[in-house]
């Protein structure tokens, strides 16, 4: 047999059940990605005799004597394929993990298919962009602006990784070849709650190729939390690498290491586990009741709020007198708002490789948002010297908070330490659903009152958060749910009771918005009801009640004394949304005949940095060639921070961003970085980069004055100049080296003080009263992002956040049956938005500048997600007269509720 790939012949033979995707990767064509391995996402698309196919579904033997073209084969004679160039020009990607498959698919479309992208792209999932930038690419739009020395900030510059992303050569976590690599597979619990009496590994060890089996008997007994926070005490220590009690279906039971995935899988199947079944509880309210099974009977050292009641944490907070406030109100709204279990669905599943190199350094290459905090806790867990452990990531294929956890690194390190061999773990898409994390499902009972004159008199919430089997992020998400969503409103009487509760479900964790989308859904729905109740326009009602610059933000979040509110961005966002909703645009869609229409808005406020410190170090150094080395810790997973850091440093150094040689997210580079979470990539790590670059700017000019004499030195794109003199940076660099001087500077930012950013979302929708289908006719989003460093990328963050939130608002829900088993852990059954599901959004920026962030920038990664469900629910209320208090607003549920009401 002979296999021809991109014009090259390969003599290797696939094994009988192998699919083309893994065969191609085995042959070294690493541009072929795995998103789902089930034919749903399109990341593995290749051309087979010129026809696009999902290579994960093609039996590899069928490629025999046929021509396979992968993303690597599209470019010819060193020139990009026109579609690759188009994706580069439009910057039609964020994390880029879907891009290879997207470009291969797009390159194959005929004219008719290009006219019908909703259908033509239904087999390609992008979780980052919301598809607008992809549509732009296919339509030939150029979104990239030119750079100019010292003026990079404010321009839509392209991502440095772009050329590698569009050619399939950008390296993601598993896109490396490592000799002697062993594969790790995990046997997962079929039970929601059980004690493991014994595990018989005899048959597993007898499988040819199996090298080792690890069970709870082999793992450190030390408890930790998979959540990564700068302050370890933020999360309860309730988790073991391998435990003798399993608390959810999907929890690790044992790990098998073998020389192939097939052997490791077979080893897992042959393990004999003796379980003692324990009673399980899935509902958070039930789990708090006396008599409920206790999940974690642990002592105070675990820092669990109240283990006997399954409470990870609780909040009891009161400001003023809500009863008095309700008595003063002319209108009171009460409702219970429920949000569901949703998954991040990054296209790259969690994965990691660990190996010890010749120098004795333990390397961990991981798909993570938090390499530095992961190293810290690996060292704690396994008693390792931090100087001998390196954790790093290159480009990460999407995160959304789901990779602010240690879910793979601990087990690969355990196996690497014990076997002495390199170990790889790659989660399947099913494992991603059943065994990583989800958003915290919450039930929020809200009660709110207002006077007829438009004054808010009382706001009360009772929040029950289902944190699942482990408490990672449970407390912090609850606190955040109790924060900005009510802090944004001036109201004399507020009260919150909140509970984060253990249940025997897959653990919830960090997810874009971090509690705000859940409580915001309740609060913003209630505000809408109050406005309706007193007959006031909902934006007008909000304008009267939101806090103004200088006013205190009063909420259960007591950690906001370092938050500065200095701009009037929220007012501008209201103006922008109001004006846009009135204006007709060519992207507006008409309502089908006979459908009901309505409009809705909602807002969100977010602290630009998480509380309690978020630390970033950066370093900038002049290179011999006159360009700069820029080193920082924050990770790139499609958020665009790499581009932004280059722009910030270039601006401070009076040069262009392409002169920055960037190294990032690698503990080996030194320094510290809390991590790429909490929307901090620009406002914290970027601030550190700004400080470092400014310090280097001064150091270079100081050296110029000292070495070359004279005064009035200025830094230019590639030189320093003073009146009448100009010295190239290459020359200055050589002079510095000769003088034994290193021209480099560091910068550090500790994440305080902080600021606030705002978003306002507006929708016009149509609802089919006979079927419950919802169609979005117009989607408008206004953001106060301070001074926008990269408008194209920031717009992309907003569109992507809104898109992801629309998925959660309209479609997505990880369903669990009454035994704790996931019903729909595949992308076929868990529908994330495809091209056809999303509107083309209008995005507007307020014209503000932040006093705290780098060059006036604010954070803008999470917050666009937050107001979407409420704005859509408010539009649904407007259209139908019925208040929908449970997401997702699936057509079947909409119709059945309309029928019931």
């Amino acid at each position: 047999m002979s296999y021809r790939v991109n014009g090259r012949s390969h003599s290797a033979e696939p094994w009988p059940g192998q699919c083309l995707r893994t065969f191609l990767r085995q042959l070294g064509w690493l541009g072929v990605k795995k998103g789902c391995d089930a034919g749903d996402c399109g990341a593995c698309t290749v051309l087979l005799d010129g026809e696009p196919v999902h290579s994960c579904l093609i039996p590899a033997f069928r490629a025999d004597e046929r021509e396979v073209t992968t993303i690597e084969g599209l470019a010819k004679n060193g020139a990009l394929h026109p579609m690759q160039q188009a994706f580069l020009d439009a910057q039609g990607f964020q994390c880029g993990f879907c891009t290879a498959g997207m470009i291969v698919t797009a390159s194959s479309l005929n004219q008719a298919q290009r006219q019908d992208l909703p259908r033509s792209l239904k087999g390609n999932i992008c979780r980052c962009t919301g598809y607008r930038a992809i549509e732009d690419a296919i339509r030939g739009v150029n979104n990239v602006e030119d750079d100019a020395p010292g003026q990079a900030c404010g321009r839509s510059l392209p991502a440095p990784a772009g050329p590698a992303v569009v050619t399939g050569t950008e390296r993601y976590t598993l896109d490396v070849a490592i000799d002697g690599l062993l594969h790790l597979k995990i046997l997962r619990s079929p039970h929601a709650h059980a004690r493991i009496r014994a595990i018989d590994r005899t048959a597993a060890m007898a499988v040819p190729g199996v090298e080792a089996v690890f069970t709870f008997e082999d793992a450190p007994r030390r408890l930790f939390s998979s959540a990564r926070h700068e302050i370890t005490n933020d999360d309860p220590d309730d988790t073991c690498v391998l435990d003798d009690v399993v608390r959810f279906v999907g929890q690790r039971v044992a790990a098998v290491v073998a020389d192939s995935e097939a052997a490791a899988e077979e080893g897992c199947r042959r393990l004999k586990v003796d379980y003692e079944l324990l009673p399980a509880v899935f509902d958070a309210e039930e789990a708090m009741c006396s008599g409920a099974p206790v999940l974690h009977d642990k002592g105070p050292e675990s820092r669990i709020g109240d283990p006997k009641r399954n409470l990870v944490a609780n909040v009891e907070w009161n400001h003023g007198d809500v009863e008095q406030g309700f008595a003063e109100a002319d209108v009171v709204h009460e409702g219970v708002y429920s949000t569901q279990r949703v998954q991040h669905v990054p296209l790259e599943t969690h994965c990691a490789i660990a190996w010890r190199d010749a120098d004795g350094m333990l390397n961990v290459r991981s798909s993570t948002q938090v390499p530095f905090l992961t190293r810290r806790d690996l060292c704690n867990l396994f008693d390792l010297d931090p100087a001998k452990v390196r954790v790093f990531c290159e480009r990460v294929g999407g995160g959304f908070g789901g990779k602010q956890e240690m879910l793979t690194e601990d087990i690969v390190v355990l196996a690497a330490l014990r076997t002495g061999c390199p170990i790889k773990l790659e989660l399947t898409r099913e494992e991603q659903f059943i065994a990583t994390t989800t958003r915290h499902p919450m039930r929020v009972a809200v009660k709110a009152g207002a006077r007829r004159d438009g004054t808010l008199t009382a706001l009360q919430m009772r929040i029950v958060s289902n944190t699942g089997a482990y408490g990672n992020h449970g407390a912090a998400v609850l606190y955040h749910a109790c924060g900005e969503s009510i802090g944004v409103y001036r109201c004399p009487n507020k009260k919150i009771d909140g509970y984060a509760v253990y249940t025997n479900n897959v653990p919830a964790g960090a997810f874009r918005g971090y509690g705000s989308p859940q409580s915001g859904f309740a609060v913003e729905s209630a505000i809408d009801e109050l406005a309706r109740g007193i007959g006031m326009d909902p934006i007008e009602f909000r304008r009267r009640n939101v806090i103004r610059a200088g006013e205190a933000m009063v909420s259960a979040d007591s950690l906001d004394d370092d938050v500065d509110y200095s701009s009037n961005g929220l007012d501008q966002c209201f103006d922008l949304v109001q004006a846009a909703m009135r204006q007709e645009r060519e992207t507006d869609r008409a309502s089908p005949h006979g459908w009901l229409t309505g409009e809705g808005v909602a807002l969100t406020m977010i602290h630009t940095v998480p509380p309690k410190g978020h630390i970033a170090d950066a370093n900038v150094a002049l290179r011999d060639d006159g360009s700069y080395d820029l080193t920082f810790g924050t990770a790139e997973f499609g958020n665009g921070t790499t581009t932004v850091h280059g722009q910030i440093a270039a601006t401070a150094l009076g040069t262009t961003a392409d002169r920055m040689k960037i190294r990032q997210s690698d503990t080996r580079n030194g320094g510290h970085d809390t991590g790429a979470y909490g929307s901090t990539g620009t406002v914290v790590a970027g601030r550190a980069t700004q400080l470092a670059a400014e310090a280097l700017h001064d150091a270079i000019l100081g050296f110029a004055a000292e070495h070359f004499g004279g005064s009035g030195w200025r830094l230019e794109a590639d030189a320093v100049s003073s009146p009448g003199r100009r010295i190239a940076l290459t020359e200055l660099s050589a002079a510095a080296r000769a003088a034994g001087r290193e021209l480099s500077a560091g910068g550090t930012f500790g994440g305080t003080p902080r600021s606030v950013a705002f978003n306002v979302q507006g929708f016009r929708i149509a609802v089919n009263p006979q079927t419950g289908e919802i169609r979005i006719l117009k989607a408008v989003h206004a953001a106060d992002a301070g001074r926008v460093i990269n408008p194209m990328q920031c717009r992309g963050q907003i569109e992507g956040g809104v898109a992801q939130s629309l998925g959660a608002t309209l479609y997505e829900e990880l369903l669990i049956d009454d035994t704790g088993r996931a019903i729909n852990p595949t992308l076929r059954d868990y529908h994330v938005p495809a091209f056809a599901d999303l509107p083309r959004q209008e995005v507007y920026f307020a014209d503000t500048s932040d006093a705290v962030g780098p060059y006036g920038a604010k954070s803008m990664s999470e917050s666009p997600y937050n107001p979407v469900a409420a704005a859509l629910g408010n539009a649904l209320r407007d259209a139908t007269g019925v208040r929908f208090d449970t997401v997702p607003f699936r057509a079947d549920r909409v119709l059945l509720k309309l029928a019931a009401d």
Binding site: Q18, T22, G39, R62, H831, A836, A891, D892, L895, L896
Partner: protein, 276 residues
């Protein structure tokens, strides 16, 4: 995905070369379902593509579609102009939740044999009075109407070792006016109800085929186009509640409510605007 328990692939060149069916075997047609889920109970694949059945043949008797015919080949088929119901082919192909790329691999027979309620080839073939020809393991063959082939969700009339060989769609079925309606929870999602109506220009007979909403195809036949009330009553009386399918792609109660809505749209479309 890799099917790591598979140790052997048999690629027979003719019926004679088909191996004796045994536990752990699976027929491999397109493989788009087989390779989309773990199959740890399987150890051998028997590749039907190796048999090289003629994919599709249209003549005056009708359309003969090999079980191994890909969706893309079916979609691109040329048929006589007087087959006025032929647009149903494209409509049903587009009703796949899978993209056009999967059409290059997935097969018509595979879709029938999966026997999922939302299988659009089941909708197409049952609406067009399709008949399956099945190869039995003793070397014989038998015919069975598509409507009787699919027995329920993931259940069909094939015995272990039997192979669906081809489907015949009679020409007469194509010579009827047709109307197509489909709904799902998302714009191009998996069908939660897929209804096809057809009206004979010859004798005025009307047939309504209901799929996806129900766990197996339901065909309602009328001597002439009924009025709205009659149609609704017939649907209500012939489809018991338990037949409405329950999965993540739509609540059964919703499928029950939207089915008559789509049926009425079909009735109105076929009445040519002058609904009785």
């Amino acid at each position: 995905m890799d099917l790591n328990t598979i140790t052997d692939v048999v690629r027979p060149r003719g019926r004679d070369a088909l191996p004796r069916w045994q536990d752990g075997d699976a027929w491999l047609a397109g493989g788009t379902w087989l390779f989309s889920e773990p199959q740890p109970h399987l150890n051998r694949l028997i590749d039907l593509a190796s048999l090289r059945w003629p994919a599709i043949e249209a003549d005056e008797r009708g359309l003969r579609i090999a079980a191994t015919c890909t969706i893309a080949t079916l979609e691109a088929a040329t048929v006589p102009v007087e087959w006025i119901a032929a647009p149903l082919i494209g409509q049903c192909c587009r009703a796949f939740v899978a993209s056009f790329k999967i059409w290059n691999t997935a097969t018509v027979g595979g879709n029938l044999c999966m026997s999922l309620p939302a299988g659009p080839m089941i909708s197409l073939a049952s609406a067009l009075d399709g008949v399956c020809t099945v190869w039995s393991s003793d070397g014989g063959e038998r015919q069975i109407p598509v409507a009787d082939f699919v027995l329920g969700a993931k259940k069909n009339a094939l015995a272990p070792g039997e192979i669906l060989h081809h489907i015949d769609l009679p020409a007469q079925a194509f010579m009827r006016r047709s109307a197509f309606r489909q709904i799902s929870l998302t714009p191009f999602g998996r069908s939660a109800a897929l209804l096809i109506g057809s009206l004979s220009p010859r004798d005025g007979a009307f047939a309504l085929t209901i799929t996806a909403a129900t766990s197996r195809p339901i065909k309602l036949v009328f001597a002439s186009l009924p009025d709205g009330r009659t149609l609704q009553d017939r649907i209500a009386s012939e489809i018991p509640d338990e037949l409405y399918y329950d999965d993540v792609h739509g609540a059964p109660e919703w499928r029950k409510r939207v089915t008559p809505v789509l049926a009425e749209e079909i009735r109105q479309e076929l009445s040519g605007g002058a609904a009785p």
